[in-house]
């Protein structure tokens, strides 16, 4: 097996005294969608924040394409190829849609490449092109989520971390967002680590999944296995 794009080995993260991640290990291979499911407070967002360097693990190793990024500051990690679409979207409210997308390509100085990427984003999200001069803060929830993902794509990362992309969205939009995630993989080969409350929908689009419970991985397997695992069904699918 070739080197995974992303690899976490026994990662421990703390918030002050609170032991939030108690030895998380996982891998994401190229072109895969891997989802991390778990209840609120299990440490899903903490895992993503640890990967992108917003939090620093006290123990363990995070590797991107085989290189350790455990003690690399977040802005360097972005440069190395991780795009993180944070929980709550993190759209810059006072910047226009275009400026928000520009921020995604902050590190890119090549105009031609910039134009190529932004074309691609508008291809995936035609709605953003319609709203190009609008301020980020005036977009609807669904549009903001699209903008956040689009901005992540502007970084053209080796792996895209999506944190609760369906949070707070109406059922109609949830469906649309998951369709887009599926398209990203199928048409653009994007590697994605997806954190979701909505386990049902996440498992529909993912290749593999991990279950996180109070800071520990308790279960892993293919998405299909998970969808039929009685424990998963009882705890996360609510059927």
């Amino acid at each position: 097996m070739s080197t995974p794009v992303l690899e976490l080995a026994d990662v421990h993260t703390y918030y002050g005294k609170i032991h939030a991640l108690k030895g998380v290990s996982l891998t994401v291979g190229k072109g895969e969608i891997v989802t991390l499911i778990g209840s609120n407070g299990a440490g899903k967002s903490t895992t993503l924040r640890t990967i992108s360097g917003l939090l620093r693990p006290r123990q363990g190793d995070v590797r991107l394409n085989g290189r350790s990024i455990t003690s690399t500051p977040p802005h360097k990690i972005v440069e190395m190829g991780i795009g993180h679409v944070p929980e709550g979207r993190g759209v810059f409210p006072a910047l226009t849609v275009l400026e928000n997308l520009e921020m995604g390509a902050f590190l890119l100085r090549n105009d031609a490449e910039f134009n190529r990427r932004i074309e691609l984003v508008f291809q995936v999200f035609p709605r953003l092109l319609e709203r190009i001069e609008q301020k980020g803060g005036t977009l609807s929830g669904g549009e903001q989520q699209m903008l956040a993902i689009g901005r992540g794509l502007m970084q053209q990362p080796d792996i895209l971390l999506l944190d609760e992309p369906s949070m707070g969205l109406a059922p109609l939009l949830v469906e649309e967002i998951f369709n887009i995630i599926r398209r990203l993989k199928e048409e653009h080969g994007t590697t994605i680590l997806l954190v979701e409350q909505n386990a049902q929908a996440a498992l529909q689009v993912a290749d593999r999944a991990y279950v996180l419970e109070t800071g520990r991985i308790t279960l892993s397997g293919t998405a299909q296995e998970m969808l039929h695992d009685p424990k998963v069904v009882a705890a996360y699918l609510g059927l």
């Binding site: 929830g141 669904g142 109609l172 996360y236």
Partner: protein
């Protein structure tokens, strides 16, 4: 059927943005109703306008037969309306019991002079308030020993319950719950839903919810109002709303019937 809360053509603007546009709403006494709609449609703004945090630019809001437009939020609470918040706004550095005691503010008759002089009346009022708070703690399904914990140290689901206990301490006739099951897993959601029904059945409190979880909304509500772009686009029983073409287009989506499972 008597109406406890009535909104007549209520409009709220922020600068040029019309967040709530001429919304009419009637909540029957003793009912359980929901307000649903896409994110940013103006649901929370409606709650904020009802509870006096915002003042409506136009229209009238009547609670229990009396207009409450322009009334201070604390006065409205004293009239018998209380709420919870979308993103849980407990007093994080106060204990659980203290949180509930703040909720009982309007119902605790102790005064500052009484506190300074340690009058008998003060002591009695404090003692009674404490006992009542303890009772509420148990009522919403929290363990007895939790009272002395700091609110911030509680897990999410319990924080939601403390928030409901805090609201109940004001002895409301009407309680407004803003996305009360957001971030809960299916089991927690189910037991929370049971609690909402208990509030109405045991205590006779009128319940209004904002909710995204269609399972909760469809399962518990007697009437549903659908808001989109600040306007009410539909209203009716769950069955009516579920099949309303405009609601499907604006909110539920084509697969409405099949996706009504656990989409929050």
């Amino acid at each position: 059927m008597s109406v406890i809360l009535e909104l007549n053509k209520v409009t709220k603007r922020f600068g040029g943005l019309v967040a709530v546009n001429a919304v009419d709403l009637r909540i029957a006494t003793g009912s359980i109703s929901s307000v649903i709609g896409p994110n940013g449609a103006g649901k929370t703004t409606i709650f904020n306008t009802i509870t006096g945090i915002y003042r409506p630019d136009e229209g009238d809001i009547r609670f229990d037969g009396q207009t409450i437009v322009g009334m201070r939020p604390d006065r409205i609470t004293a009239q018998g309306m209380c709420r919870t918040f979308q993103n849980i706004r407990l007093f994080h550095n106060m204990t659980v019991l203290e949180n509930i005691l703040v909720g009982a503010h309007t119902k605790t008759p102790s005064t500052a002079w009484g506190a300074v002089l340690r009058t008998r009346q003060f002591k009695r009022a404090e003692e009674e308030a404490r006992q009542e708070a303890q009772r509420l703690l148990l009522y919403v399904g929290l363990p007895r020993g939790l009272g002395d914990q700091l609110a911030r140290n509680l897990p999410y689901g319990q924080q939601r319950r403390v928030e409901i206990a805090r609201a109940l301490a004001s002895k409301p006739k009407l309680i407004l719950l803003d996305e009360p099951t957001a971030g809960m897993n299916p089991q927690e959601t189910e037991s929370a839903t049971r609690l909402f029904r208990k509030l109405r059945d045991d205590l006779g409190i009128t319940v209004v919810l904002i909710e995204h979880d269609m399972k909760v909304v469809m399962g518990i509500s007697e009437r549903i109002s659908v808001i989109d772009y600040g306007q009410k686009i539909a209203e009716g029983t769950p069955a009516e709303v579920r099949t309303d073409q405009r609601v499907i287009e604006a909110y539920l989506g084509r697969h409405a019937e099949s996706t009504i499972i656990s989409m929050h």
